[in-house]
């Protein structure tokens, strides 16, 4: 709690001083609109960029020109910070596409290859890795998530007898409780069904993480440690662009890949073929075949979150 009561306020004041704004604008007025922590962490970003980033609008309220500026600003900033040419895109949702995911629990072997694929793609903080996918080792015949063990060891071969494996990540709910919980609307559902976060708008209050019944949201408690060689330079504003301290992040169905027709990194990494991804609106897609022909279920359906992530077994 100490972190929360003192530190942001002090930081904010420090931030305002840097910007030469201390007298002009009250700290409280800014606190609710933009996250002041990130821009300050980068000493080499230019004063002008810091200034503009500080007053950057919400992603959905920015004009196309403002977005272009914001993207260029971010690219300059990552260049200054990591000395890498990061491309920050903002590909719009595809027409007539709503994404859905299905996972075959009888094929999943618990290798955790999806977790690795995800952390390689999404520029999460490394060592210790921040992971969007949690693979639970479950007793066969039980569906009690509370008894699932995400920390099963890497010494013993999998699948272990009598166990099955249940990977959980953001379910991209049609009725997302996290979006409702956000006091500043920094997270929302895109037209293609992906629940995204505007990292620049997030104030780091972590209400969304509280609201999520699937443990899908992860918080950057520290300045992310992202080694230069681990950076994936192909990024999306709402997706895997490098994040900063004090913001929430989560699985975005690899928005930077899937909006270009590529499959999510977790699916590509899975060697068993347990993962099926596609367009729910296309009656000939694989995901629709699975939903119509297999015994599918969703987690915690009684919460009326309407996840677009199904599990099936055959």
């Amino acid at each position: 709690m100490k972190f929360f009561r003192q530190s942001p306020d002090q930081k904010r004041r420090a931030a305002l001083k840097t910007l030469g704004l201390g007298a002009a604008v009250g700290a409280g007025a800014l606190a609710s609109s933009a996250n002041p922590l990130p821009s300050i962490e980068v000493p080499s970003a230019s004063f002008e960029d810091n200034w503009h980033e500080f007053f950057q609008q919400h992603y959905q309220r920015m004009s196309p020109e403002e977005i272009t500026e914001a993207l260029a600003r971010l690219e300059r900033k990552y260049k200054a910070k990591y000395d890498v040419d990061v491309h920050v895109g903002n590909a719009p949702p595809l027409e007539g596409v709503v994404f859905g995911y299905a996972l075959n629990v009888s094929k999943c072997q618990g290798y955790r290859e999806c977790v690795k694929g995800c952390t390689t793609e999404n520029n999460q903080t490394k060592d210790p890795d921040l992971e969007y996918i949690r693979v639970l080792e479950m007793e066969k015949g039980s569906m009690n998530l509370e008894h699932g063990d995400p920390y099963y060891g890497e010494e013993e071969p999998v699948p272990k007898p009598g166990k099955f494996y249940l990977p959980i990540q953001c379910h991209h709910c049609e009725n997302p409780p996290c979006v409702k919980a956000c006091p500043v609307k920094a997270t929302w559902k895109e037209p293609d069904g992906i629940v995204v976060v505007d990292y620049n708008w997030c104030i780091g209050c972590r209400m969304c993480a509280n609201a999520c019944p699937y443990w899908a949201r992860k918080f950057n408690w520290h300045e992310p440690k992202l080694p230069v060689e681990a950076i994936n330079p192909q990024t999306h504003y709402l997706g895997n662009r490098p994040r900063f301290r004090g913001v929430m992040e989560k699985c975005t169905f690899c928005i930077q890949r899937t909006r270009e027709g590529k499959m999510p990194a977790c699916q590509e990494a899975c060697p068993t073929g347990a993962r099926v991804f596609g367009n729910l609106l296309d009656p000939h897609s694989e995901i629709r075949f699975v939903l119509e022909n297999k015994n599918v279920f969703r987690l915690k359906e009684e919460l009326n979150t309407e996840p677009k992530f199904w599990y099936y077994s055959d």
Partner: protein
């Protein structure tokens, strides 16, 4: 009339009989040897499924072209079930529980091809046609996207991973392997396996305490 009534009552008492009546249609296709439908030509299986492509397999095979040894008179084809010693000794057939032998799948006279149960030649590049004869349910899932996997994209050209990229046709069961590293517990949290807590769950302890407490209160 009486006979029919009797039959009806029998059916009401034992609804499973109805199932038995139908079962000549419902064949056992539980991925065993009995195929739900045997195609005269294995290619019929792909006639009505969404178009797809697969990568070549022949350039991945160590022994290909097989012709080099097999049909140039160097080695006489030998159908006998035996332990292979002179060559291919690494291949131990662990498939089908001893119900079939190499020549069920490999053409005896033209070794560059696989062969269907009805003796049509199947390219070594299309093993999914071969497997589907006996695993028709899995094959259907494979064509429709519920078994196996696509490569690279969800949209556009459908490039599928071939059965033999995941399953060794001679020992198809996926062997267990070591998983990737486990997640690190968040700072301040420790992972104590339940066994180390004496196998006792916190709530079990609580329940225990509650019952013993209420017992001790009894006069």
């Amino acid at each position: 009339m009486k006979g029919r009534l009797f039959l009806l009552m029998l059916l009401m008492l034992f609804p499973s009989l109805l199932w038995a009546l139908e079962s000549s249609e419902i064949r056992n296709d539980g991925d065993g040897v009995v195929a739900a439908k045997q195609y005269d030509d294995p290619k019929e299986a792909v006639a009505r499924v969404p178009a797809f492509v697969t990568d070549l397999r022949t350039d991945k095979l160590v022994y290909y072209p097989c012709e080099n040894c097999h049909t140039k008179g160097l080695i006489a084809p030998n159908e006998k079930v035996r332990e292979l010693t002179d060559m291919h000794a690494e291949i131990q057939l662990q498939h089908g529980g001893g119900r079939f032998w190499c020549t069920t799948c490999h053409d005896l006279t033209d070794r560059n091809y696989l062969v269907s149960l009805k003796k049509q030649r199947i390219s070594l590049n299309d093993p999914y046609l071969l497997c589907g004869q006996c695993h028709s349910a899995r094959q259907k899932d494979y064509f429709m996207g519920a078994h196996g996997r696509r490569k690279a994209n969800w949209k556009g050209e459908k490039r599928l991973t071939n059965c033999t990229e995941c399953h060794n046709p001679h020992a198809p069961k996926t062997p267990p392997r070591i998983p990737r590293t486990k997640p690190v517990a968040r700072m301040g949290l420790s992972i104590v396996p339940t066994e180390e807590l004496g196998g006792e769950k916190v709530w079990e302890k609580y329940e225990e305490a509650k019952t013993s407490h209420s017992e001790s209160k009894k006069p």
